[in-house]
Amino acid sequence: MIGPTTLHVRSINHKNAPTEVREKAHLDPERATALMDALGGHLADENHDPTASETGCISVIPVSTCNRTEIYLEVTEGTDADALLRRGLAEVGADADIFFSEHATELQDLEAVRHLFAVSSGLESMMLGEPQISAQLKDAYRLARNHHEPGPGLLRAFQGAFRTGKRVRTETRISIGAVSVAFAAVELARKFFDKLCDHRAVLVGAGETGGLAARHFLQHDIGHLVVVNRSLENAELLAETLRTERKAALEKKAAKNSGGLLAPAPDIAGKCGKISVRPWNELTDALAEADVILSTTGATEPVILPEMVEAAVPRRKGKPLFLLDIAVPRDIHPDVGKIGNVFLFGMDDLDGIIQGNLAARAGQVPHAEGIIQEELKEFQTWLEDIDLRPTVAEFKAYLEGLKDKQVGFVRKKQSEEVAAAVDRSLQQFIKKVLGRSVSTLKSSQSREERERDLETLKRIFSSDEQD
């Protein structure tokens, strides 16, 4: 129980549900908003004090990504959260039964918060430590916040989740190392070249896989990308698409950096990311001039032969040549790898790198769990004091009122300097009295004793009593 409210989460994710179930459970932003309306999470009042609706729901935050759909719910104590959720889902036309089937897990209070922290840290992701989940959680939180003021429990839990995620990513290496083929290709290239910006890559083939790999290299600011394809027309088409995407990405980046104003592409555009096309018969020349070769054609026979590379190597003045064959069947003859200063890698190598990185990430899990535990402890501490806050606030307001009266009285009789000194002195006094009172309340032997003490304090100092 979170004070007078309880937290619930119903989760359908890649661990407990197949893709078709996850598809059915998916909640797009419109449906998520409709669900919030249906469950009656209310807009905050003018004092930003969220109140429970008639249904007992204080707030709801649906999170839906390709690998998970989770509904976080904060309800008043004693409310049947399951019945409430079932009714709400049915109202918005979602398949409520899925959320109560064997594919869904249900967690409450601290377990729900622990789960949220783990999700935010990427520990629950399909690719351990992936960073996108953090942004997806923030989007879901923002959507909910625009709709209604989250209850104190969910507000604190989500803020804690964002902090935990950030800590896990900065204090551990859980997000380090490529776990996709395209990123592994870039990571491998980076073992040869410090700054890709100073280097030239040749993409052999203009298919879908080649385009994807090229995009990753462009994202990492490869200096110059040359597309070589049997069909020059297709090469031109891919190059044009990549140029357009690159320009849009750079403009977006520049706009982000300049605080939302659309700005011209940054200087880096002039230095990196040049994209050009060469005809197929110039492939050997392209090999001599490039540092990275990505081969992805659909050819059934090797298209890069040892004699082509042998002809290119002497023109490279000792610079290493990095060839990556991500085509099946292979595009590059295996004997190319035997040529001096030529490094040939294939899909098996990339898979080896990915597996190594995943194992390294798994080794970081205990450290990440330690951070989650620390943050959970802090949440628990906050939770333990949640019932004190309203009464302490009233007590503080009462003391502040008294202080203001006294200072006003002194100001009439004495100089401004004296009044300011009295104000400072009384401020210190209030701080000490409050500190002592809160620590006394916290040290109560039992819950009953604490409630009795709070009641006494409330009776003496509440605004009603003052009236």
């Binding site: 204090e171 290496r173 040869f192 000792g318 290493p320």
Partner: protein
Amino acid sequence: MIVLMSVFKVLMPMIYLVVWGTYLWLFYTDHPTARRLCTRFAVVAVMLHTACLVGRGIILGRLPMGAPAEFFCALSLAMLATYLVIEIRIKAKNTGFLVTGVSFIFVFVGSVFSTTTMEVSPFLEDPGFAGHAVAVLFAYTALSLSFLYALMYLVLNRQLMRHQFGLLFRRSPSLETLERMSIGAVKMGVPLLFASLCLGHLWMYDLADRVDADMASMLNPWDPKILISWVILLGYSAGLIGNRFFGWRGKRMNVMAVAAFIAVVGAMGLFYHFFPSFHDFRSSQPITTLSGFPETASHILAQCDGGHDR
């Protein structure tokens, strides 16, 4: 001061051990805390060690590089300081464990064996000698770092050739960075070696006017050690020119860097043992008394340190 020096003698290896440990921690785990701390610890170690050597120089009244133990200590400082310059310039920290490890071994050896009684040449008491000796020390340290990085380049190159994606693959900088570090170290070493040779020549001619005829006759500009140093300077300069203008790079350049350093060490050893040189400051009898220099080191130290550590 003497007590402080004694404390530092024990403290310095411990500080170097901490620095090495932090760099090792970084290499094995790439932990952000290790990343944050390692350079700071290294800077602190360099500052403390410099202060320690300056203090020791003041006490002895000479450059503290006469005894082998002193030389090892100075070498460890030079290695760490040179490494720090390269690390800060190239912004690659993952190779630090190698250099700081060697530095720790040198400072440890220097501290453990620093109690041997040894007479040193009064040359070391000449301020003119200090600039020359320090430049030589840093020059050869830079060249040895170039060797270490070239070696790392070749190891990583071999691993990539064999498609081995182990710890070195994950942690070491790129081949390009290692090559830049190796060449960067040579770029530091060559001017320092040139400066040290020039300073040495100037000092030698200056000294010739101040010493007696016997001593002056020993100060020979054709001294084998000087000659081999000029050859080394020319060799490394040729490497730099080849890299800059003739595209010498990659595996070939790094094999050359490794071979050059092995040749340097071999040649130095050969000349040291088989050719007489006035570059021997360990002689048990002072060669001669330099005119115009106060008698400081021997007597002060004998009183302070019970005759040890000279």
